[in-house]
Symmetry: C2
Subunit: 111 residues, 2 copies
Amino acid sequence: MLDRSCIEAIDPLLEILDGKWTLPLLLELFVGTRRFGELRRRLHPISPKTLTDRLRVLEEKGIITRTLYPGVPLHVEYELTERGWKLQPIFAAMWAWVQEDDLNANKKNQL
Amino acid sequence: MLDRSCIEAIDPLLEILDGKWTLPLLLELFVGTRRFGELRRRLHPISPKTLTDRLRVLEEKGIITRTLYPGVPLHVEYELTERGWKLQPIFAAMWAWVQEDDLNANKKNQL
DNA sequence: CGGCATCCCTTAGGATACTG
DNA sequence: CAGTATCCTAAGGGATGCCG
């Protein structure tokens, strides 16, 4: 199933997921559409520069969309694309690992 | 399924997966037990320092084991622990994403 | 063979102030 | 509100040489 041929092929994905805040950011967007300030608060203490950088990269790679609603004050929404949503199983697998890992850790503590 | 509560919890996993070479390195170990020089060749152009650093971190976190076979020349083998093997579904999910993503890319190119 | 030790450098990311 | 513009630093990682 997994073999050496995967390694090169998986590289574009690693580029998408790269960056300290990318995974937490994506987790936020799996919950739902988010505004810039909302993301900033929830991902605290991320800096606005970093948040912008990551959002731009993900947009460029077709993982999220940026929608501007004109008016004052400004209103911008970030949302996963279809391609972005398909990343969810990866996070689900991560989450599953963490849960089982915690379970085992607790078992050991109870000995 | 996935919600905000996952975000903190998933952090230890992100620490494990952190680093430019960690995922390619783990992919190598999913294929099988590997020696230092073997990893170095297959992960070329990784530097020996970086490889050592990553191996030490993964060892410390209980993801891999390091086995020294005394003798000249030295012989060292790195192998996934049980905990490490359980990461495989995450990589499988990544691999699945990449495959479907490529499929879609090809479809579009054929239009 | 399987590493350390060293030195160097790039760059992701932080802090802060300002703007359309 | 949603960013940009600057400046700065910490550290991950590269290159190289030596050693048990």
